[in-house]
């Protein structure tokens, strides 16, 4: 039954694309995020829907779309360079088969992020992209939110419809992404034109934000909690009554503690007692290993190069019973541990040049969004104010991602590359609009003679 619903939905969405080809782009965005082929038992998983959607999206753009004044931003060039560089490291990889496997999805994420801004020619397109990204992610987040309220969740225990832990269905990734999209949800609630602000939109948006905040609790991913703190700090930037805001946030946080499952509090305690936690100690050892590795291999080991690591470390736990503290040291041997950090993932797999290009792409994004935000901050024309607000939402989302990425290996997460594509699209759109606004024929710009 569910299969038929997904098929009908996709057919309608793609069918609409034949009238408005931009809907093909949205179809691909939806398929890439929700991966409906993984939620069904038959029909969809036998058809390469992702390939069909992307072919239609590119075909529609090539054949029908208006390509006048198409701008290619420097970041798109950098992504092309990164794409080619990753291709070369894949051919030289330490583990050719495993590297090829990761390359098979990484190149698609990069290529789509390069292509996406070319299609974002109008406000409505940019908005609808944001809306589809949010609603697609919401399919997973709403499930997570309700199940967390119902059962309290648990690390690796929250069932998000799919059990194979890939894409956004992975608990650490979804808890980071869920927090990163909160600024975008709030933007769509205030400035959306597809679903203009009314009580229903507000109800849905706030409920969705609440579900997003529940994701780190439900998945017990510590990264998510850190992301929530970053989000709180960023929202402080534009709060008029800052003291009241801090007080409210504090009261809310303290009053939430009794409702948190004890497994959550125990796990969050390991943030400060990281020495007793093998997962946190492993990370530090893997990062040390990565640093030693790139000193010998400055161009990285290609995708999945972490498979060769062998680490040994000791965890220290202190037991306090009857006023006597006993310290227990346990030696742990481990191998093939993942990077657990996007920065070390880039460094270990793509070496110094790869990390450098990746960091430049991220940094330009932060600065460009800041520039746009400032430019439109006090813009006289209310019709254009949304540009500054969206730039801010995308920048905040990116900052949350960059902090979360310190502890999760999500350097090539397709959802984040879509957000970067949206940033570039907004940037080129804003530039095009300013040029159009500034230019006027002389006779039109001068006041008419009396």
């Amino acid at each position: 039954m569910r299969d038929l619903i997904f098929v009908a939905f996709l057919l309608m969405l793609i069918g609409a694309g034949f009238k408005r080809p931009f809907l093909f782009v949205l179809s691909y965005v939806y398929i890439d995020i929700v991966a409906p082929q993984r939620l069904t038992y038959m029909l969809l998983n036998t058809v390469p829907i992702s390939l069909i959607a992307v072919s239609l999206a590119i075909g529609g753009w090539l054949l029908i779309d208006d390509k006048r004044d198409t701008r290619i931003a420097p970041r798109q060039f950098l992504m092309i360079v990164l794409l080619l560089y990753c291709w070369v490291t894949t051919t030289q990889a330490d583990f050719p088969i495993e590297a090829a496997e990761k390359w098979s999805w990484v190149w698609k994420a990069l290529a789509f992020a390069i292509f996406l801004p070319l299609t974002l020619r109008t406000r409505l397109r940019i908005e609808s992209l944001g809306l589809f990204m949010v609603l697609s992610a919401a399919t997973i987040i709403i499930v997570g939110g309700i199940k967390t309220i119902g059962s309290g969740g648990g690390y690796g225990g929250l069932n998000l419809m799919v059990t194979n832990n890939t894409g956004l269905y992975e608990s650490s990734i979804i808890s980071c992404v869920a927090i990163a999209i909160i600024p975008l949800i709030l933007f769509l609630m205030r400035y959306g034109t597809i679903f203009p602000t009314d009580w229903r939109v507000k109800l849905f948006a706030y409920a969705l934000c609440f579900a997003c905040l529940l994701m780190p609790i439900g998945t017990e991913a510590r990264t998510g909690l850190i992301c929530v703190v970053v989000l709180g700090a960023l929202m402080l930037r534009h709060t008029k009554r800052r003291f009241l805001y801090i007080m409210m946030a504090g009261i809310l946080a303290v009053s939430a503690i009794p409702f948190l499952p004890s497994s959550f509090s125990n796990r969050m305690d390991t943030i400060k007692n990281y020495k007793s936690d093998s997962s946190a100690s492993t990370r530090i050892e893997v990062w040390k290993w990565t640093w030693e590795y790139v000193k010998e291999h400055p161009f990285g080991g290609g995708f999945n190069a972490y498979l060769q690591n062998k680490i040994r470390y000791e965890t220290v736990s202190v037991d306090e019973a009857g006023g006597v503290a006993t310290q227990e040291e346990t030696l742990i041997l481990d191998k093939a541990r993942a990077y657990h950090s996007a920065y070390f993932e880039m460094l270990g797999e793509q070496g110094f040049p790869g990390l450098f290009i990746w960091l430049v792409i991220q940094t330009i994004g932060l600065f460009r969004m800041e520039a746009i935000r400032r430019k439109y901050q006090n813009y006289a024309d209310e019709g254009e104010q949304w540009i500054g607000r969206l730039a801010e939402a995308l920048q905040h989302g990116q900052i949350i991602y960059l902090v979360g990425a310190l502890f999760v290996g999500i350097a090539f997460q397709p959802f984040i590359f879509m957000l970067l594509g949206m940033q570039i699209g907004l940037d080129t759109y804003a530039q095009r609009r300013s040029v159009e606004a500034a230019w006027r024929p002389m006779n039109e710009a001068l006041p008419a003679p009396a």
Binding site: R2, I5, F9, M12, L13, A16, K19, R20, F22, L23, L26, Y30, L39, D65, D66, R121, T122, R123, L124, R125, S128, L131, F132, L135, S136, A138, T139, I140, I142, V143, I146, K147, G150, M161, I194, F195, F204, A380, D381, G383, E384, R433, E436, A437, A438, R440, A445, P447
Partner: protein, 50 residues
């Protein structure tokens, strides 16, 4: 049950959004922006009614 509720809600909204997008021509083409406002100082000096 929860899964179906979430899928139904978000997919319903996406379908509605797609339908609304079909009805809006500005998805593909949009009006050029209004010319930039005149500098404030100029207006304050009473430089015309425009």
């Amino acid at each position: 049950m929860i899964d179906n509720f979430s899928i139904g809600l978000t997919h319903g909204l996406m379908l509605l959004a797609a339908l609304l997008l079909l009805l809006r021509p500005e998805l593909d083409r949009e009006e050029p922006p209004k010319p930039l406002p005149k500098p404030k100082a100029w207006r304050d000096k009473g430089g015309g009614n425009a």
